[in-house]
């Protein structure tokens, strides 16, 4: 049953995001590292739309514990992305000829 496969994979994704992401490496990623090394990291700025984004920087607002804030952001984000992806797919299947 595809339903069971999807449920299990979703549970795995949510579990990884909630339990493991708080312990992920905090070092700069490849592009940020190159930007720092080559001296163009100072050009980065946050778009005005993003300054009011609901969960900036994968830290759920209002949670003091840094790791818990990231875990909760991952939990909500993973379920949210599932809902958006599923919703888009359902809609596309219905509207495209």
């Amino acid at each position: 049953m595809t339903r069971w496969f999807v449920a299990l994979a979703l549970a795995l994704a949510v579990g990884l995001a909630f339990f493991l992401s708080p312990y992920a490496s905090g070092s700069p990623d490849g592009l940020n590292r190159v930007a720092g090394d080559k001296g163009f990291d100072g050009r980065a700025h946050v778009h005005s739309i993003q300054s009011s984004s609901p969960i900036p920087g994968y830290a759920f607002p209002g949670i003091g514990d840094e790791r818990l804030a990231k875990g909760v952001a991952g939990f909500i984000g993973t379920l949210g992305v599932f809902a958006i992806g599923y919703g888009v797919a359902v809609r596309l299947r219905r509207v495209t000829p």
Binding site: T2, F5, V6, A9, L10, L12, A13, V14, L16, A17, L20, S21, A24, S25, G26, S27, P28, D29, G30, L31, R33, V34, A35, D37, K38, F40, R43, A44, H45, V46, H47, I49, Q50, S51, S53, P54, I55, P56, G57, Y58, K70, A73, G74, G77, T78, L79, G80, V81, F82, A83, I84, G85, Y86, G87, V88, A89, V90, L92, R93, T96
Partner: protein, 223 residues
């Protein structure tokens, strides 16, 4: 590899955005052809999995980290065009909800981390089907190579966009980006092969839809 706002000049961002809009538009138009009933939830869960694993930065050499991009994984599971849609959903959510990756740079990020890997690996799998023996090892070797190449090609595209924007000379940024992403790409290959192996072990039929993947030998005949 999420490009923030400020790294690209408006012309380069717009050009990359135009390419992304075109490809994603085409993907949307042909979605109904690719989306059978079971791929609807599969698209959702692939997007969720890619989002979750993108949060799991792993350390690579010298105080740098990398994370899965996921375009290769999505392309092996869903084919090139649905994979473009998966990556667009993930990257757009990251930009607007998590302030990860710029808003004006979203088109470039969809191109570098989504479209290039999705189309590259999607069509690589089709080509490999004709060329390579249809074995499990051969299939996974192509998945691994494709994953690594997807990261390298995305990093190269990112470097070209930065250079075209006048942010940094190509001769400086291209070797630097390829050097660090050669390592990150290994992580991409390991994670992608692990995930695909798990799907092959549990639901190999999910990979073989529309003849994208080689026909897999099913041990014991029962599935």
């Amino acid at each position: 590899m999420h490009i923030p706002d400020g790294f690209l000049d408006p012309g380069v961002a717009a050009a990359a955005g135009a390419v992304s809009v075109g490809v994603v538009g085409y993907s949307l138009r042909r979605a109904n052809r690719d989306l059978d009933e079971r791929r609807v939830p599969l698209l959702g869960v692939t997007a969720a999995f890619v989002f979750a694993v993108q949060m799991l930065n792993f350390p690579v050499a010298g105080g740098t980290s990398g994370h899965l991009l996921g375009a290769a994984l999505a392309a092996v599971l869903l084919g090139p065009w649905l994979a473009c849609l998966v990556m667009t959903v993930v990257l757009t959510t990251q930009a607007f909800v998590f302030a990860d990756g710029g808003v004006s740079a979203l088109g470039a990020n969809v191109l570098n981390m989504g479209i290039i890997g999705a189309l590259g690996v999607g069509f690589l799998m089709r080509w490999a089907r004709h060329v390579l023996p249809r074995t499990r090892a051969g299939f996974l070797a192509v998945v691994a190579g494709g994953s690594w190449l997807a990261v390298m090609a995305g990093a190269a595209a990112c470097a070209v966009e930065l250079a075209a924007s006048g942010t940094v000379p190509l001769g400086t940024v291209l070797p630097a980006m390829l050097g660090v992403h050669a390592l990150i790409g290994i992580g991409e290959a390991v994670i992608t092969v692990t995930a695909i192996s798990a799907v092959m072990a549990s639901r190999p039929d999910l990979l073989t839809v529309r003849g994208l993947a080689p026909r897999l030998p099913i041990a014991g005949g029962a599935s």
